[in-house]
Amino acid sequence: MRANFIFSEVWIGLRRNLTMTIAVIVTVAVGMALLGVGLMINSQVSRLTSYWTDKVELSVYLCTDKSPFPACKNRGAVTEAEKTSLKQTIQAMPDVERVEFEDQAQAYKNFQESDSNKLLLSVTRVEDMPESFRVKLKDPDKAAAVADSLSGQPAVSRIINQRVLLDSVFGFMGKLRNMALGVAILMVFAATLLIGNTVRLSAYNRRRETGIMRLVGASNIYIQLPFVMEGLIAGLIGGVFAGVLLIITKILVFEGIQMYMQNPIGWDTVAGVITLTMVIGVLICVLASFITLRRYLRV
């Protein structure tokens, strides 16, 4: 096999169909970048899920003096007796692993740490903070059922199920991922058609050469390789662009929202995603070239 012969043929082919080649590269780059973004979101979601699953709790807030919640209307702050009985009730539930009481001082401290709104901080006093029970469940999936049965209890102002919050975040990310993957599939489809067209043009342009090659007994591989290599190189270049786009995405998007996510995906994940999208991109290009070849190049 004469490598330089093949490469010069490939180079001529790529240059002769320059506009088509660029279209293929762009489509492959965008399609593979979207596929990669989908995969990155996916791995972010699964990291977050495993991070949060054992931390999810129910917050059972108790009535304060001036609680605006309907459950606290016509009554004052929670009494010590109510707290004791509520704690016993919660502890008695089979799905509950442990219960912790958060008093006003602790709540105020947490609030100070988590909220950066200076104005809100300055007008909020320790007495305004609600007391709460932090309920850790044996099985996070039971959160909704436990919350339901606790919401009717006396002196409970409201119950926050962290699980529901997380689910909405995960749900949103899941939708983003599906969109990215959906568009990626469309792009892959477009890339396949484009490659098919490029190969068809190439085969037409080179019909004299391939005719003579067949006649003098060049092996099929030798005849087809330049076409497949054209697809391969276009796929590789597109893959490199996709990799650059993914690195930019990681820096701008995933690093940017890092402060909200305790467990952002690392560069090892990005490297894995880039490798995978490259391989898929190149495989698609090579397969598409090969399949169209069978149709347009009689061997």
Binding site: F5, E209, I212, L215, V216, G217, S219
Partner: protein, 229 residues
């Protein structure tokens, strides 16, 4: 070398066979003219030898190989042992004489050193010495056909198929072409040439196989073009 046994070829969408129960034997080193009116099946015969087409019935052996048993994978190897020349030359317009001939060796993966050695030899054999760097458009029809013959012969095939090689060339130049074919034949290469050119057939006095409507109507050693009564 070439052995047709009761070969019938009917093209798709045609009811009349292009070749009709043809049996013929060509020995190693022979020079055979294939003559007959247009549409009598001469080109079809040559395409069958190359396994570009498959017969509907009958068997074909080329160089001892049964073509029906030859896998598609091995067809290129068969074609490496058969050279081909056509009426329309089929040169690559963007390559010069040397490159056109070398192309046939490059694409079957021959080493460059070998190519550099044999290509000039063959260019000389067909009488184009000094013209290796001309482009095809700078050559006459006869010279272009010599390039095509050099390309067909450069890999030293056992068989050379020529489909009306003088069809586009004036009679005077054709004599030169025939001399080259004769020279190639003398190296031991079997030559099979389809032609309409009566003068050439008559002057060469080689074996003549005449086809008509796909049937062999004459097979004569040292024959002439027209029916010898």
């Amino acid at each position: 070398m070439i052995h047709f046994d009761n070969v019938t070829k009917v093209y798709a969408n045609q009811n009349r066979p292009a070749l009709d129960h043809v049996s013929v034997d060509v020995d190693k080193g022979e020079f055979v003219f294939l003559v007959g009116p247009s549409g009598s099946g001469k080109s079809t015969f040559l395409r069958l030898v190359l396994k570009e087409e498959r017969p509907n019935s009958g068997s074909i052996h080329v160089a001892g190989k049964d073509l029906a048993r030859l896998s598609n994978f091995k067809v290129p190897h068969l074609r490496r042992r058969i050279g081909c020349v056509f009426q329309d030359f089929r040169l690559l317009p963007n390559k010069n004489v040397y490159e056109n001939v070398a192309f046939a060796l490059e694409v079957i993966g021959k080493p460059r050193r070998f190519i550099r050695k044999v290509v000039p030899e063959v260019i000389e054999l067909v009488g184009l010495e000094g013209k290796a760097h001309r482009m095809p458009e700078e050559l006459s029809g006869g010279e272009q056909q010599r390039v095509a013959m050099a390309r067909a012969f450069v890999n030293r095939p056992m068989i050379l198929l020529a489909d009306e090689p003088t069809g586009n060339i004036d009679p005077a130049t054709s004599i030169g072409i025939m001399k080259v074919l004769d020279r190639i034949n003398r190296t031991g290469t079997t030559v099979l040439m389809a032609t309409h050119d009566a003068a050439i057939v008559d002057s060469m006095r080689k074996r003549v196989v005449e086809l008509e409507d796909g049937k062999i109507v004459r097979d004569q050693s040292r024959g002439v073009y027209g029916q010898a009564y």
